[in-house]
Each structure stands twice: as structure tokens, then as C-alpha cells.
Amino acid sequence: MTTSQETRSGTLAGLVQRHGALGVLVLLLVVGGLAFDTFLTAYNLGNLAVQASFLAVIALGMTMVIVSGGIDLSVGSVYALSGVLAAYSARWGPLAAVLVPLAVAAAIGLLQGLLVGKAKLAPFIVTLGGLLFARGLLQLLTTEGSETYLVPRESAFLQLGQGSVLGVGVPVLVVVLLYVIGGIVLQRTRFGMRLFAIGGGEDAANLMGLPVTSTKVGVYVLSATLAGLAGTMNAAQLGSGVTVIGVGLELNAIAAVVIGGTLLTGGTGSVSGTLAGVALLFVIQDLINQVGGFNSNLQAVVSGAVLVTVVVLQTLLSRARR
């Protein structure tokens, strides 16, 4: 149970607010299932789940950062950069293909964490810098994005993205695992408690003697590393280090987190909500496809409208709480 839950426990509105995304999700699944017989199939949902898993991993880190009252705009670029690094390092074997990108991502996270935690710069600007920097680095490594490194066809690394256990894609399994761990970390460890405390009142947290700086550094490292992992899995799925991915991904992640009922002001939030938020985004996208007939521009309008509706509902419910 989350800290926010604790304080809201019982109240129905609180419940709905926390699981509002889940509610809408179920609703859409039912409606979609009734409307299109090709929608609620194991095949379709299976594919969606795999495609959603990358954003899910990123959004997990984003949730933690946002709970701590910060924000991480660099995830999209770090995601792409890690993909390229993974594909490149695959030539030295699967282990390298995983470790190299994670190490670099973590390093970027550390740098950002120090700037936010120690130098007390605004996370928005710091991670905006990270966004530009990682993207630039990526282009530098690929001679202005002209080279795409391929993962050796037989490399075991590919399994991380393409393999499946009992019909469930490996990325999906990774997501499940990470969200269980993430849930425990956020709701049941001192680190998690500190995140809530810092998000809820940084000065207070400091005066209470909580290690504010190290916690912040930690959470940015975490976020970047998860983004790195997502990029790595993606490279494994694509079999190559594509340079044009991850643009604007940070906004999707933020949207998912907020739809999941986490407040950008920090101090409250839950990873379960985020997962529902991610799922919601992809289901909406697929339903738009199933309905068909929208051209790309109309699609944008529709997604915008849906976003407003969901968030407004979300907000009204959470306000009903107070």
C-alpha cells in the first residue's frame, strides 16, 4: 500500500483515483472487445504488450523521479543512445551488449543526479541538457546518425527482445519483474519512503535528517538506468541500434505516469497506476487503428482529446478526495 494510499485509505474516491486509469482501461478493453473481434485476441494483446514494455520500463523510473518531486526529460535520448551502444557492443558478446549501455546510462544519470541533488539545479533544465547531450552523443557515435550497428544474427542477446517463455515475450516478463520490485522499492523500503518525503516537502525531509542529496542522486541514476535497459531490450528486439527512436518519448512517459494518478507535484504516486497508464496509451492507440479511417492528423486530435478527458477525470476524482 502506498504512502498516499495510507493517508487516503478507505475513501472510495481515493480508490478510484488511484485505479482510475485501470478503470478506464478495463472499460476500453470491454468496449473494444465487443466492437472488434480482432482486438481482444491473445495475438493482438501479446504484440501490444511487447511493444508497450519499453515505455513501461521507462515510466517506472519516471514515476520514482516524479514522486521525489523531480522530472526526467532525458529518458528518450538515453533510450536511443543505449540501443545504439547495445547493438554496437553486441559484437563482444551478450554480456557486453547489456552492461555497456547500462553503464553509460547510469553515468549520465549520475551526472544529472549530482547537478540536481548537489548543485540544486532545476531538474527540468538539467535533464533537458541531458536530452540534448545524449542525443548529440548518439549522433557522434553513428557519424551523424548515418550508421546503424547490427546485432550479430546469432547473438544470444537477441533473446532479450525476441525470446518468449510459454508464449509470453521476454520484455513483458522483464516488465512484470521490474514492476514487482519497483512496487516494493517505492512502497516498502526506506528509499521509497525518502522519495515520498522529499517530494512532499524537501526542506522538511532535510531537517528531519534524511539524506536528501544521495536519495536524489539515486533516483536519477535509477531512472537513467531503466531508460538504458529499455533501450537495450529494444535493440535486442530490433536486432539493430536504430538512431531515430525515442524522440518525444519522455512526454509519453510523463503522460503515462500522470494518467496513472501520480501527481507531478511529488509526494504521492504508485507504480501500479503507471503500469495501467502505459497500457491505456497503447490500447487507445490500437483502438484508433482498429477503428481506422482517421488520417494521421485526425489521430493526433483524437489522442489529444482522449488525453484531456482522462486527465480531467483523474483530477476531478482526486479532488473529490479532499
Partner: protein
């Protein structure tokens, strides 16, 4: 405890915490100009001084929030320098800072145990255990509140008790309390004193900051007086009389001080006949039952009651800052729209809120801007503000309330707590209101300023304002008020007039109010 026979043996007790030649200045302001401070094991040490004397700053230096510009710290004989509050706490110094510093969005239990949560196997936080411990701790300290409640939903008084509970629940060698009682009721104050005694018996050293003289003399063994960031006196408590202490604090001759009573309130005022403000049946589910009250011109109406009895809620309701389910509010017989701050202000009803930090000041704005904030529309033509008029108003009130700031342009969050409170008063007096609602107006204000505020309240009443006074300082309440409405569990249970307006009157009213429910 604070009796002379204790004292005779105390001096030999070991010095736990010692500061010498501490200097600390902020942009432009010298908060501390070479202060020495010595704390012995098992003593309860009063740290007193006017607002802005440097008490909180000294405490923050002692506990690693600020690094001193100069001077030395010794803890248990060893020279130390605490980089962060965490360091001081690990060393065994636990602190209740002046402005309640807890996390409002988290539960009471979490706030009590943040950073030291009980952990089950696999090092996971054990919520059940935590809630149980929290429950016991609170009960043990006689604080009746559900540990699962979100802290922010509680009254300031309760929050303050939680902060104290957190501080004393660690086995610290030194406990520092910066104005822990500023919004506590007599009942809670007693509980607090019990705690302090226990600490004393456990040979824990306590630093105790308060502007309530009587408290100091009840529980303190030693006293250190600061004035303008300088040490002006340090010694055993029993050597001083209350007046001497006040005199040294203010740096004014004894006889001058002697003339002022315990509070600066005059007698009763002759009040108008018809009610200026009348409220009937104010209610809000879960917070207010049914509150009736009325204020006549020139009258000071007191609101009595225990923590969480709904006094703050009531006054907030009166100015439309607390939405009400039912109730009628009339000013001069005309009904004011419920739940609309604007119309309340237009009707001339204003509130100086209880929680200065959260509801009062705009931290990054200057003293000037904070004072004129509400009056801005009046001080401007066609939406263009006139600086000249602002400065006039600001000058008037800074002078009238003796607001201590390096200049009107100093950031308000750099002022001492007391001076911030005066800025709040100035903001609303600048609106020249008809009815002035004061929620804990002298909270955290030093004796001098307190007296000023109190006599100010008198003057305002003389000038025909209607005043509603909420104060957790019973003495102040009964001295100041002409009539007292006693609240209990969110309903008005009694109206005290004439001779009933006394500490006992209020106490018994609260007690009886209980019986007849």
C-alpha cells in the same frame, strides 16, 4: 526540578554541547555576532530573546542546518562540525524546529518514523509495526490522533505535538525545542512538560525556546538571553525574576518594564448594541457541528476550545476560505455569500491566519509587497499600482508595528518568525477592515511585540472594529476578550460573559460542554 537544590549540584554536570564565538550572517543581516552557549547534561536550558534575536539561527547552527561563518562547536568535549542535520541527529541531537517541519502529504505514523522506520525481514518497512509503535507513542504522550491520518489534514497544534513526539522518541542526549508550545493548549503544554521532566530524569539536556515567560520559569534550570545576535546573559534561572528577564531581553530598564502587566490588554470596552458580524449554524460535515457567534462593534470576542475543536475552521469559514455546508453569515445585517473570500473581504471581514508559513507569507516577495498584497487594488488606478502610495502604507505600518527588517525590500522569509507575524497583521490592517479575525495572533511573538499586538488589538476595538480572537494562550484569551464563545468538537457549547470570562470559566465550560453531549 527547576528548584535551587537541583541547581546547587548541576554546575558540576558534564557539558554536552558547547558553542563559542559563533558568528552567522546572511545577505546583509548579522544574525549571530559571536555567541557563546553552554549546555549541561540533564539541564533544561531556556534560550530567550526578542524576535529576530537569533535563537532559531543559533539552533540551526548547532544542528548543522547552517554552517557558522566563525566560531567553534564542541559536542561531548570533542570539536565537531555537522555538515547536515542528519549528522547532528546521528550524533544524538534531536530538534523540533520553529516552523513545524514535517511532511504534510504523509501520515502521522510516517512522519514519526521517517528515516528510522521499523523493518521486518528482508529489510522491508514494517507498516503494521510502525503504526502500532506510532499508536503507542502518541497514546503514551497523550496525543489523541489516528496515526494513519494525513498530517496536513490536522490542526497546527496537533502537528506541533507530532513534531515533539518525533523528537523525543529517539534516545537523544540533547533535545532542542524551538517554540514547541506556540500553538499548544494548556492541556498539551502540560503533556509537553511531563515529557521534559522525563527527559530531565534520563539526564538528557534540553534547549527550550519560548516567548511564554511563565513556562520558562516553570521548567527551566538555566537561561541564555540573546539580543540582536549577541549574548547578553547566561546563568541559572532561579537568579532571575520574570521582570528582570524581560528587561534583559528587551534591553530596557526594569522600572519601565514593570509598568506592563502580564498582558497589555486594557479592561473591557464599551461596545455597540447591534451586532456587526453575526454567524448562525455554521456547519461542515466532519469538522463543524453548529457554530453560532456574533461580534458587536468595539467588542473583542474570544473563541475558546481545545485542539481541533474547530476554531480555525470557524474563522476560515467566516471569511469563505473553508467551504461550509450550512449557516448564515451577516455583516451589518446584510448576508455575505458563503465560501467566497472576495465577498467577505468586500464586506470588511478579514482573517490573519494561524499558519503563517503555509497560509500567510509569500516567501520570495519583499516585506513591502507582502504588506500591500491584499490592498493592491486600492493602491492602484486602472490596474496600475502606485509605488508612492505603497511606500506610504508600508512605512506607516512598519513603524506602527515596529517591524524589524533591514529594509522594506528585504525578503519576508528572511525575517524572524515574530516579524513575519507582524507583516501579516500589517497586510490586513492596511485593508482597514470592519471585523478582524485573529487566529493565534501572538503565536511566536516575543513579549515586547506581544504587548504591542495586544494593545493594538485594544486600540482597534476602541476604534469600533469587531474583533474575533483565537488564542491557545488562555491567559491572553481571557484578558483580551470581552466575551468568549467556547467550541467543542466543532460546535459552540457556551458563551461566557462578565465574570465567567476567566481561565476556570473556559475550562469548566469545555468540561461541561462535554457532559451535555
Amino acid at each position: 526540578m527547576s528548584s535551587s537544590e537541583d541547581m546547587s549540584e548541576e554546575p558540576t554536570a558534564q557539558v554536552v554541547l558547547e558553542a563559542s564565538g559563533i558568528r552567522k550572517s546572511f545577505a546583509g543581516v548579522h544574525a549571530l555576532r559571536g555567541v557563546d552557549f553552554r549546555l549541561r547534561a540533564g539541564e533544561v536550558h531556556a534560550l530567550v530573546g526578542e524576535n529576530g534575536a537569533g535563537k532559531s539561527t543559533l539552533i540551526k547552527v548547532l544542528t548543522g542546518v547552517y554552517q557558522p561563518d566563525d566560531g567553534e562547536l564542541r559536542y561531548l568535549g570533542e570539536p565537531v562540525s555537522f555538515a547536515r542535520p542528519a549528522a547532528a541527529q546521528d550524533a544524538g541531537i534531536s530538534t523540533v524546529y520553529q516552523e513545524v517541519n514535517l511532511v504534510p502529504s504523509m501520515s502521522v505514523a510516517h512522519n514519526l518514523y521517517l528515516g528510522r522506520e521499523p523493518r521486518s525481514r528482508f529489510g522491508l518497512v514494517d507498516f503494521r509495526g510502525m503504526r502500532r509503535d506510532a499508536g503507542n507513542l502518541l497514546e503514551d504522550l497523550g496525543i489523541d490522533v489516528d496515526p494513519r491520518r494525513q498530517l496536513g489534514s490536522l490542526g497546527l497544534g496537533v502537528q506541533q505535538m507530532v513534531a515533539v513526539a518525533r523528537a523525543v522518541s529517539t534516545d537523544a542526549r540533547v533535545v532542542i525545542m524551538d517554540e514547541p508550545t506556540s500553538s499548544l493548549e494548556p492541556r498539551e503544554v502540560e503533556t509537553l512538560f511531563q515529557l521534559v521532566r522525563r527527559l530531565h530524569e534520563r539526564d538528557v539536556a534540553v534547549v527550550y525556546v519560548s516567548h511564554r515567560m511563565e513556562e520558562l520559569f516553570r521548567i527551566c534550570d538555566a537561561v541564555t538571553v540573546l539580543r540582536d545576535g549577541r549574548l547578553v546573559h547566561s546563568g541559572p534561572m532561579y537568579e532571575m525574576t520574570r521582570l528582570e528577564l524581560v528587561a534583559t531581553m528587551l534591553g530596557r530598564p526594569l522600572n519601565e518594564v514593570r509598568r506592563e502587566g502580564t498582558t497589555a490588554f486594557g479592561g473591557d470596552h464599551e461596545t455597540g448594541s447591534t451586532a456587526l458580524l453575526r454567524a448562525t449554524g455554521l456547519s461542515r460535515r466532519g469538522v463543524l457541528g453548529a457554530v453560532d457567534l456574533s461580534v458587536k462593534p468595539g467588542e473583542v470576542l474570544g473563541l475558546g476550545g481545545l485542539l481541533g475543536s474547530g476554531r480555525s475552521e470557524t474563522v476560515k469559514g467566516l471569511v469563505g476560505l473553508q467551504s461550509l455546508d450550512a449557516g448564515v453569515i451577516e455583516v451589518d445585517g446584510r448576508t455575505v455569500r458563503r465560501g467566497s473570500a472576495a465577498s467577505a473581504i468586500r464586506a470588511g471581514v478579514v482573517l490573519v491566519p494561524e499558519d503563517r508559513k503555509a497560509e500567510g507569507i509569500i516567501p520570495h516577495l519583499s516585506v513591502r509587497e507582502n504588506i500591500v498584497l491584499a490592498a493592491l487594488p486600492r493602491l492602484s488606478r486602472a490596474g496600475i499600482v502606485s509605488r508612492a502610495r505603497q511606500d506610504k502604507v508600508v512605512a506607516t505600518f512598519m513603524e506602527r508595528l515596529r517591524i524589524k527588517a533591514s529594509s522594506p525590500e528585504q525578503k519576508v522569509n528572511e525575517l524572524s518568525g515574530g516579524n513575519q507575524q507582524k507583516v501579516m497583521l500589517a497586510r490586513w490592517l492596511a485593508m482597514s477592515p470592519k471585523v478582524l479575525l485573529l487566529d493565534e495572533p501572538t503565536r511566536g511573538i516575543d513579549v515586547g511585540a506581544k504587548a504591542e499586538v495586544q494593545s493594538l488589538v485594544d486600540d482597534l476595538a476602541e476604534q469600533g472594529l469587531g474583533i474575533v480572537l483565537v488564542s491557545s494562550d488562555l491567559e491572553e484569551l481571557v484578558e483580551g476578550a470581552d466575551r468568549i464563545v467556547v467550541l467543542k468538537d466543532g460546535s459552540s457549547v457556551a458563551v461566557l460573559t462578565g465574570s465567567d470570562v476567566s481561565v476556570d470559566g473556559v475550562m469548566s465550560a469545555i468540561a461541561e460542554g462535554g457532559t451535555d453531549e
